[in-house]
């Protein structure tokens, strides 16, 4: 490092900084929005970038499941009893993994097949991702919306509205969620049953989404409330109010744009949390039922087989772990990028 200050002789230019004209220099400093700065920080976080791509891959797999089915050549529900031995266990090694089509199903099975049914595990995973992420993303978005509205209203209205929403938040948090959801979902399903007592798979999914939305908004509400309380006193809100802006305008046009960073982080961390919760319910055999593929239920069904067919448990378990881990890592990296002061 050159001793520029005390010598005063050398030029002030540091090695590596180009002698830019002043105007441009200023523009470069001013021109970066907070979003761009955050994106720059994010890109430097290698773990964050990798986890983002893995998360995106999971999302694409979930969305493009029918396309994958076409290319792969077999559906998730095709039964292949001809791939099983007399004990209903898959023929071949490692739960029937085969990359050749030279077998009774005339199809490859890159992750093997299920015991008892002979269904292709890879396609079960692909459609299972669709179930998990479909439920998790929808429920996270709904609970986010509820939370944002609750938080905004509580903080902005204050007074008894604030007290009530606060109490209600505490009240909802006191519910033992897993146990309650687990007990409530079958009951809610009985309401949705048709004349023959059947509940359509779609209704079951809706029930789960509703339960996770109803119990998922409290954290967001508290966060938004806290943020708004600190933002509310800022000058620009005062200015908007003085200019005669209505409550709705101030809430949604002035305050909300300043909350996008914490909201984005909440959303990205809410998805893996919901995936975990949904899998846990499925593991307890509550939730989506056959023939809709589901990772948690796969683990549940593997319990009967795991002493002899470990792959059947390992594959959905590892998939679940990878999905949740990549979303968690991505969410963490996002938070670090958006709020450089946070300590993780």
């Amino acid at each position: 490092m050159s001793d520029t200050t005390s010598s005063g002789q050398g030029t002030a230019l540091e090695p590596g900084t180009a002698p830019e004209p002043k105007a441009e220099n200023k523009a470069a400093l001013v021109g970066r929005s907070p979003g761009q700065l955050a994106w720059m920080r994010f890109k430097r976080d290698r773990v964050g970038v990798v986890s983002m791509w893995i998360s995106v891959t999971f999302l694409i797999v979930a969305i493009a499941a029918p396309l994958i089915e076409m290319v792969y050549g077999q559906s998730a529900t095709t039964l292949n009893s001809n791939l099983l031995n007399d004990d209903s266990r898959p023929l071949g090694v490692l739960g029937g993994i085969t990359f050749s089509t030279d077998n009774p199903s005339n199809n490859i099975h890159i992750l093997g097949v299920e015991p008892r049914t002979g269904r292709d595990i890879f396609m079960q995973l692909v459609y299972g991702a669709r179930t998990s992420l479909g439920i998790a993303v929808t429920a996270s978005l709904i609970s986010l919306a509820i939370g944002v509205v609750m938080g905004l209203v509580a903080a902005y209205r204050g007074g008894w509205v604030d007290s009530f929403i606060n109490w209600f938040t505490d009240f909802m948090l006191a519910f033992p969620f897993v146990l309650f959801a687990f007990a409530a979902i079958p009951i809610v399903n009985t309401w949705l049953a048709d004349d023959k007592g059947e509940v359509s798979p779609f209704s079951r999914v809706i029930t789960i989404i509703v339960v996770f939305s109803v119990f998922g908004w409290m954290g967001t509400a508290r966060l938004v409330r806290g943020q708004v309380l600190s933002l509310r006193e800022r000058e620009y809100i005062e200015a908007a109010r003085a200019a005669g802006a209505g409550t709705g305008h101030i809430l949604f046009r002035q305050l909300l744009p300043n909350l996008w960073a914490p909201i984005l982080v909440t959303l990205s961390l809410g998805v893996p949390a919901t995936v975990t919760g949904e899998a846990a319910l499925s593991f307890l055999n509550i939730g989506v039922t056959e023939p809709t593929p589901d990772w948690g239920r796969m683990v549940n069904e593997s319990v009967a087989w795991y002493q002899v067919e470990p792959m059947y448990m390992l594959i959905p378990g590892v998939a679940l772990f990878l999905l949740v881990l990549s979303f968690n890592l991505f969410g963490d990296a996002l938070r670090d990028a958006l709020d450089p002061k946070s300590t993780k």
């Binding site: 948690g296 002493q307 448990m313």
Partner: protein, 330 residues
């Protein structure tokens, strides 16, 4: 201080009451025919079902049923009529639709199992998690810190049912180096209790430790950047005094909060843990009861779990007042 606690307890009681109303309404108003459960395998005729419904008051207005349920908790009650009546002493949480046994007796059988899991895993998770989190905050950027961050992230992303099954598969069934999880009362066979509980303890303990580690680290890092820690260093105190007497002391209240929330919530998560390890605790009881439509048991377990959440919230508040002198004023 006392007034503060009384106020907190009062809010807790109201919250519990509201939860019981919500739960009762949801379960008993919406449910399918519970009377069919009483008949068991041999299907009853319509007349018998009618009689059961009438004797249990299952067709009465919901608020009357709720009133009976609540008064039963405080005074006990007789369920059913005439010769079929079942004595259910206070605190009565109803009787099982299946076996007509008072629910409380059934729960009492499961409680030691669930409590064993909760206490053992809580000890492991707090000791491991908090010390790991604090150590990694103090040596920020070092190898221990990197390990701790990785551990916290992995733990937060692993499902207890997957890790539990995996460990059982590898350690118990493949390598045969660990005891199969089972419950024996510690009074009968203490060592058997220890070895039977060890796998659930370690699994749940290590997973919850990840939460503590992550939290303790973040909290400690935040406290270490506080002005009063700088003041302590400016006084010329040793790093040990600065870290323990000043920083750790200040982060204690947040750590206690997480501990209370975790412990209070353990019973709620027991359904998953106990299914994973096939332990006959309250969680497993609830899972079975839901499968059987055995509403009184479901209701009781949900209420019990909510009770623990609320109870630990009050305990945390009380701890706050002990730890933080500022609380006494408000």
């Amino acid at each position: 201080m006392l007034r503060y606690l009384i106020k907190r307890s009062l809010i807790a009681v109201i919250t519990l009451l509201m939860i019981s109303i919500t739960t009762f309404w949801l379960f008993f108003a919406g449910s399918a025919n519970p009377a069919a459960q009483m008949c068991g395998a041999k299907a009853c005729d319509a007349a018998k079902i009618e009689r059961i419904n009438k004797s249990l008051g299952l067709k009465d207005p919901i608020h009357e049923q709720y009133g009976r349920f609540m008064s039963g908790i405080f005074t006990g009650r007789e369920i059913g009529e005439g010769a079929d009546a079942i004595k259910c002493p206070a605190p009565c949480l109803g009787v099982s639709f299946r076996t007509s046994e008072p629910v409380l007796d059934i729960i009492e059988r499961g409680l030691p199992v669930s409590a064993s899991i909760a206490v053992g895993s809580a000890v492991i998770s707090v000791l491991l998690g908090v010390s790991l989190g604090i150590a990694s905050a103090l040596k920020r950027g070092g190898w221990l810190d990197k390990f701790s961050i990785g551990f916290a992230l992995t733990g937060a992303s692993l499902q207890i049912f997957f890790l539990g099954l995996l460990l059982q598969m590898v350690l118990v069934y493949q390598l045969k180096i660990w005891d199969r999880p089972r419950y024996v009362p510690p009074s009968e066979d203490f060592l058997g209790w220890l070895s039977g509980m060890s796998l659930p303890w370690v699994t749940l303990g290590v997973l919850s430790a990840a939460t503590y580690a992550r939290f303790a680290r973040a909290e400690m890092l935040e406290i270490l950047s506080e002005d009063f820690v700088r003041t302590a260093r400016a006084k010329g105190l040793t790093p040990r005094a600065v870290n323990i007497k000043h920083a750790l002391r200040a982060s204690l209240s947040s750590i206690v909060t997480i501990f209370g929330l975790q412990l209070g919530g353990l019973l709620g998560g027991a359904a998953i843990t106990e299914t994973t390890f096939d332990m006959p605790g309250i969680g497993k009881l609830a899972v079975k009861a839901v499968g059987d439509d055995n509403l009184p048991i479901v209701m009781a377990t949900v209420l019990l779990a909510a009770f623990f959440v609320v109870l630990f919230n009050v305990i945390v508040d009380a701890m706050y007042a002990v730890i933080d002198p500022r609380v006494k004023l408000s």
